[in-house]
């Protein structure tokens, strides 16, 4: 596809054009629960400026947004709320796990914390870090754009036994496992 075509028009598949439009008009829903929110704000503000990627317009209604940014620790009391927010979003929709707490639970391996939001909703992009640097977030955003352009969406949840639905780097290393390793 070239905009400099000598004939003055170009041809493409309709889905490619749609996906191209979608990836540069990301309407995000920031589900901000914890300290990662500060880093999210600095990414969104003018210095790093997510608007360069067409993602500068957060919607605070899930019904008007197509990317769910889960920013910060999700605990078991909050989990049903997150699920219902996700369920209210219209297709096509994508989910970004922002920060290591949303990816795996992070160092909160305890009674209250969800051990990765991919146990509840399917996650497309994992941005680990505590908190991730804005450059890291922008990298994740561009990877999400690639995914949108290809028309891909994650549909699988994390299964700890089958070890599916989560990158190998983020497979959970639990305290229980750690203690077993020390004892053996």
């Amino acid at each position: 596809m070239s905009l400099n075509s000598p004939t003055g028009f170009f041809s493409t598949k309709i889905t490619d054009a749609l996906n191209w439009a979608r990836k540069f008009s990301i309407f995000q829903y920031p589900f901000v629960t914890a300290c990662c929110g500060m880093e999210y704000m600095s990414t969104a503000a003018s210095h790093y400026d997510v608007d360069r990627f067409g993602a500068g317009f957060p919607r605070f209604s899930p019904r008007q947004s197509d990317v769910l940014f889960v920013v910060g620790t999700i605990n078991h009391k909050m989990a049903p709320v997150l699920k219902s927010v996700y369920d209210q979003m219209c297709e096509p929709k994508w989910v970004v796990a922002f920060g290591v707490c949303t990816c795996t639970g992070g160092f909160y391996d305890n009674y209250s914390t969800v051990q990765g939001i991919d146990t509840i909703i399917p996650v497309d992009i994992y941005i680990p870090g505590c908190p991730p640097r804005p450059e890291n977030v922008l990298d994740g955003l561009m990877k999400l754009q690639d995914k949108i352009q290809k028309g891909e969406q994650s549909r699988t949840l994390y299964d700890p036994n089958a070890k599916t639905g989560r990158p190998a780097e983020l497979q959970k290393y639990t305290i229980t496992q750690h203690i077993k390793n020390i004892e053996s």
């Binding site: 078991h76 009391k77 989990a79 049903p80 699920k83 391996d109 305890n110 009674y111 209250s112 969800v114 051990q115 146990t119 509840i120 700890p160 639990t174 305290i175 229980t176």
Partner: protein, 171 residues
């Protein structure tokens, strides 16, 4: 005369032990005398402890890796402060875990809500996390965890890898 000395003078027989370090004073008292001591702290003009700064608990099960055995399991710790006199006092109440003669299952101490309104949420948190009941509390229900949660998460015998999710995979 420091606040601790005043309390010792009045409630000598109810005090198990005292401790003071660089002006931070602590009195360990028997649970039956908690309400009387607290009322004395609040209503005596020279003491005037009008501010309950903190109320929490300690679980001494497996204390020091099980090397130290205490005859009681829990300790409820209250921090008092007087805005007028700028002095502080810490009260520790020993709470036994053994089943009471009336058959109740949870350890119980008197509630301080009748004296300090701020005790309300502190005591709900202690109930939520340690399972200590407060007699006379107007609304003793969980404050942080959800109602479906079984057990009390900060008790030392609560398994650290036990999960009780509302949705999502069970362990």
């Amino acid at each position: 005369m420091t606040p601790l000395e005043k309390v010792q003078e009045k409630f000598g027989k109810d005090i198990v032990e005292t401790h003071a370090f660089r002006g931070d004073e602590t009195a360990v008292i028997r649970p039956a005398s908690l309400l009387a001591v607290a009322k004395f702290l609040k209503d005596t003009p020279e003491l005037d402890f009008n501010y309950l700064m903190d109320l929490t608990a300690v679980d001494y099960l497996f204390f020091a890796g099980g090397r130290i055995q205490k005859e009681f399991r829990f300790e409820v710790v209250c921090h008092f402060y007087s805005i007028k006199h700028n002095h502080r006092l810490r009260l520790k109440v020993q709470v036994d875990d053994r089943e009471a003669p009336d058959g109740r299952k949870h350890p119980e101490v008197d509630s301080l809500t009748s004296l300090w309104a701020s005790a309300d949420w502190y005591e709900r948190e202690v109930w939520d996390m340690y399972g200590i009941r407060f007699k006379g509390h107007p609304n003793l229900k969980r404050i942080l965890m959800y109602e479906e949660f079984v057990g009390h998460a900060l008790r030392k015998d609560y398994p650290f890898d036990k999960r009780q999710p509302l949705i999502g995979p069970q362990n």
